[in-house]
Subunit: 234 residues, 8 copies
């Protein structure tokens, strides 16, 4: 019965760290600064690190009042207190197509760093000027996982996928206009990628791509037995 805590407007899942490897994350959209601050405090009291996404400046100030160590990453719209411990060999490349995709890419990058991953950023290397990509492709391929963020036509994951041998997590963004239909075009492009080794998360879901990467790298970093999970986790 003590696996979650009831604040009335939310049941905080303190057990999640045990179950999933990291504590409950605060998704700020639709919550008041006061609610966010209250939840952040409850999580921090359990000695868990705190991650709050889609947070505006005002919410950050409310959190900072209670938890003075809170840091704000404005471009990523993320509030952070503390950090998970490093994942060994947990390297991730974050590749983005254009300047306008940068917010989503930063949500992925800041989340991944919070989760203990080592992030290298490769921004503004979209297919319109493909030499910017090819000049960096070897460095990109040195990471264990590649997150590719792109809006408009969303072709970048297919192109990267044809050049590297690492798994790609594709993030469509709502950047574009007209028939981009707020990211639907990029989403469909990525779902239909003819390059092997590509899987997709929701439109603008930089956070999700980072958690998927964390989930993969943590699974791999675990106990040597090929057929079991280590006892320390879960």
């Amino acid at each position: 019965m003590d696996t979650f805590e009831d604040l009335g407007f939310a049941k905080i899942d303190h057990h999640r760290k045990k179950r999933k490897g990291f504590p409950e994350v605060i998704y700020c959209a639709g919550k008041t600064p006061e609610q966010i601050a209250k939840i952040a405090k409850k999580i921090a009291q359990k000695k868990h690190a705190v991650l709050a996404t889609r947070a505006d400046k005002k919410s950050f100030l409310a959190v900072k009042k209670t938890l003075p160590k809170a840091k704000y990453y404005a471009e990523a719209n993320i509030i952070i207190i503390g950090q998970l411990k490093k994942i060994p060999k947990g390297t991730v490349a974050i590749v983005s197509a254009g300047t306008s995709d940068q917010k989503v890419a930063e949500e992925a990058a800041v989340t991944a760093e919070f989760l203990g991953l080592k992030v290298t950023r490769f921004y503004d290397v979209g297919v319109a000027g493909i030499h910017r990509l090819t000049q960096n492709i070897n460095k990109i391929n040195k990471n264990r996982i590649i997150i590719v963020v792109a809006g408009m036509e969303g072709a970048l994951p297919s192109v990267v996928g044809g050049l590297v041998d690492k798994p790609i997590i594709a993030v469509p963004t709502s950047v574009g206009y007209g028939s981009s239909f707020k990211g639907l075009s990029a989403l469909l492009t990525m779902m239909n990628s003819c390059a092997p080794g590509v899987a997709v998360v929701n439109i603008d879901n930089g956070f999700g791509s980072a958690v998927m990467s964390y989930s993969i790298l943590r699974s791999m970093a675990s106990s040597p037995s090929p057929s079991g999970r280590g006892g320390k986790r879960g």
Copy 2:
């Protein structure tokens, strides 16, 4: 009153050659072999070359009975009698992504050749193995217009567009499955292409891409006066 001819089930637009530069084309889908043969005969009697698209074998045999010079291009599903005169400098590259896109690419190629263009084919050079494309990119760029045919995620026009300085006519195909939604995914990708100099025709409309190319190349090949059409045409 003699600009068209009324067959009852169709009014043949004999005036079109004057107006558009080439005679009425027979779109065979939904017409019986007999109707197709009758229209083909009427066009041929006016000394016009004949092009019939989306034609099956049976329709070809019906046409051949009346017009023994008829030729059938099975992969393109096209019947042809005669040919328009060559367009000077009318070079077109037809680039296709995969083996399954070939039917649409052939519809474009055979139509373009009928219209007097010089076609070079670059098939199966999709983004999954991008070296097949880059090894050919200089040859592709030597043509005045580039038609790019692709299904699934439809990323190829964006990638070609980033590498060449020629206009690209993009043809989405209905090749794919699942969320490709019969070509919708490729269509949206191409509409949203971030590469400059790309325009799009309907799904599987190889014919349309060839006519667009013809229309461009004929417009350019025309009279030297920058502000008028030559008197011979139209």
Copy 3:
């Protein structure tokens, strides 16, 4: 390694002029006035002409502070510094259906003029009063390329396409209401046009239609050899 310049938030593709014939364009949506001014300055320092689209007044003022020669085309939402050299015989007609489509038509017109094309405007000649179109059709057909801009039902390109023998680049606009679904209706109409010689760009993409025209006219104006690009370009 000097083909692009890294501003942190953007990698400017200085090599694009070589590759595509014109320098990188600034798409202002989602960028701050400061970012826009900084990118504009970097491009201008390379002695390249500058084109910035979807720019509001505020961005223009920021650019003008650094680059006093900057000009603002309010209806087109475009900032321009300098201009590309004229394309010989580079004539384009810009035909628009209604008063409300004018912003998109102007984006096309101002961009085309920047790129060195000779533009003639034919505005407010939609199909509801078709005599306004037919009285102008001969003048329209005297241009080498025809850009047709239309919202609502988007029928204008089909009608123009039935009357001229020049290639048509169709631009659907988001003008309309109800089941126009922000331009989707016009886009589908144009994709399905039964008139030959029509290709389509994205909803509201006046810029794209101008670049496609430029790409065509520059390709045609190039070296006399039918099978190669001139050495000076590219």
Copy 4:
């Protein structure tokens, strides 16, 4: 209680003639030839004329066995026995865009004739060769109502609407391919028509356009009093 008759699998609405001016119509899709024959017989027994739409040859033969006066209109897929009495001044033009739209146009024409209207057909006058339309426009405008049938981009009603002063009932057809999406493109075009005096019925619903015309013409032909219906009708 005698206003309808219960056949078990159908309740025949004998009262409809009173209420709507014409007897219940048999929509054959999804019914067996036997069911169709049985319903036709019951309607005929009430001395009502019979109209059965979407009927194949087999259904016709089943009906003919019981009702030897039944006639079959193969292109319209309609079975008819008898006819309603003529509507004075009940003239309708049926205008269709292409040969492939003819089935739907014939469903409209045969239904309208059954309902007592005087039909003039203008087929294959689509916008790709607009002179075929303009040469006929005065004859078309001599009718009291104009039904316009078109598939693909569905632009014809807008163009006709710009040239005539009669009400237009637009019928989108499922003719087309690719992004025509089985008539959706034509439907949206017609809904968004910028020409005044256009209303739309369902995709391929030639029958519905005829009944709408009948409903209008019968309403107008009724009693001289401006503020009431004649007592004889339902």
Copy 5:
């Protein structure tokens, strides 16, 4: 050449009255109050009555400054100066489902009255309380045309259509939430109506339904010859 007048930002179609029976209407969305006032003045100078739809208060004040006789119908968002002459027997019922559909219903009603029709309003008689409809059905059916306005599920035209013998023009509205998708649900319902004698105009297009009614009633009121239009019009 004097059939339209060029204001630079608009070509006013003075010929429309001849061609369609009523002068050009000003669609105000996307136009500035100044542009609207200028167009209104030009139309009024030709001794034509003026109708401006989707007009806000500010536009009305701008028009009133030049044309002091201008009247504003706030609920309909319409500005009117003058009126067309009465259509004999031109009776229209306007039936609306709920209070929230009233704006669209008023756009239809005010437009119809401007065009010379006699309008009777039946508001708030939706299917949720069907006795409000059935108590009025005889009065509704005394009109020659019935306009039915409904949002949400849009079932009202089907129900009215089952009870009357007059033609119905159905207007879907964008009233609703969730899966009503801004009127799409109501539009599809009306397109698929199983009641005979129903045709549909665009979402929220009260204006269009009035013009369609006018077009029908004027066509019927015209010359006695069953096979021609009167010489004075058109």
Copy 6:
């Protein structure tokens, strides 16, 4: 571990009767006659009644070979062996709009009877002839739950909902053509119903509407205590 049985290609949920009140149902689409027969046998061996939906004749014959008591309801495409015990006061009206909706209505009716409910059928009472509905409305309202099945525009549940005071379960069907989009139109209509007391199941899901009714009636028939479930059930 004995709560389900593993057939290799299926895990039969024998525990479901305990949990949900009725045994696992066989959804036959996509299963071979042999697989269906094998699953049916396993369920029957546990002394459970058997219900198999979407079953063709061939599957029935395969089942009958092993289980000779199997009965086939051809119109409903259902195989049944045995029956659940009667639910006291478990009365359900099944109301359908047209003859073509009957298959779905029968799937609902046969399933409901299998589950122990008392079904009264009211077929072919759609809104096009609303008197067929109003004459039956009192009998319909005497049941505790009303299932309403309708395709095309799907308006029937709204109309019934305005006339009765019983809960309505609405079943959209894929009957229709053109813009009915295989039931989407009817589904949206029902979701947006302005009548209170309507909930919706999937397109063509007659089975689901019956199970929902059963679930309601069984819940109501249970133990007298207002705040608990009886011990005998699940």
Copy 7:
């Protein structure tokens, strides 16, 4: 003629209580505070309880001026005056997935309580931390009806449906982003639920789910005769 009252802008259906068991509800979206206050007063004058949904603070203040007993439920956006009498055994569980779904859940809860039902709330028990659900499942299943409210992927009703034997009314919410398409994703998930005994209401329609529950529980609580409704109601 006294079954409804005409306020000009609305016809109040005073008869509804007789017909449906509860008085007309005020849907405030799109109505002015004054209109709302006027309708509320008219309903209250008939000695009916008043329920107004989608009401903001301002509307509440307008109502309170006339009807001082009015109470406002801010999270549910509901105004209430009075209450219906208790339904015996009328227990409903309201289960919601996340904090952001709470507004819709509260609209359901407050409406249900107004209608005389006994509500137990189970909030923030979504599938991401399924132990929060399973710990409460027995308490949830003690109610006669279960309303499940969920946005994003909307999986909660399927999961609850697999664990309980009570009828479930599923309410999709517009909570989510990207490809949730304002509730469409959750709606489709719930429509396709493989769990038996689930029916769905419109996106964000908490009100509708409460009325459906009321309708069910009132139907069950009525007269003992299995084949009739009590004479007092309806």
Copy 8:
């Protein structure tokens, strides 16, 4: 120039094994048995293992004639010759919701085994009977990657995601009917999953989920240096 081989109808990418770790795969849909056999032979001649997906029996027989070691997996529609070498610790669980999803699950399983992974199958454990899942959850979680295959509402990945700490690759299937829209419903559900650590591949793309798993496990199994790829690969 020897990195691919040109068969005329296909360019085989022999270099892919170097670049991506496994040889080109034959996607059989739309290819003739003869083409498939020819490509298979060419790949086999390079000493590469062969995988052909979406292959029917006929294609298998054509391949077997040339390559007698070919094996056919009928349920997966896959032809295989040879196998890649085992990936150490490369364990994958394949979890499927229902019997009808099995084909897609088998495509994933057979592909994964071909690529050298160790697969454990957990079939028919959908949310309708959630105890079948929970009894297996520990065994499922012992694998390094979990592929979850589900059609209809597609809720299974969210539920599994709430219970395990391993990365999940979700595969929507086209299993379902009505508003499942051939897998769109399941796809949207999975994209919007509120469980962390879920990424999605295309509808019915069992192959893609296996390649993504392979790509992950191979990346993890590679060289010990945290910041580089081993020299032998790529």
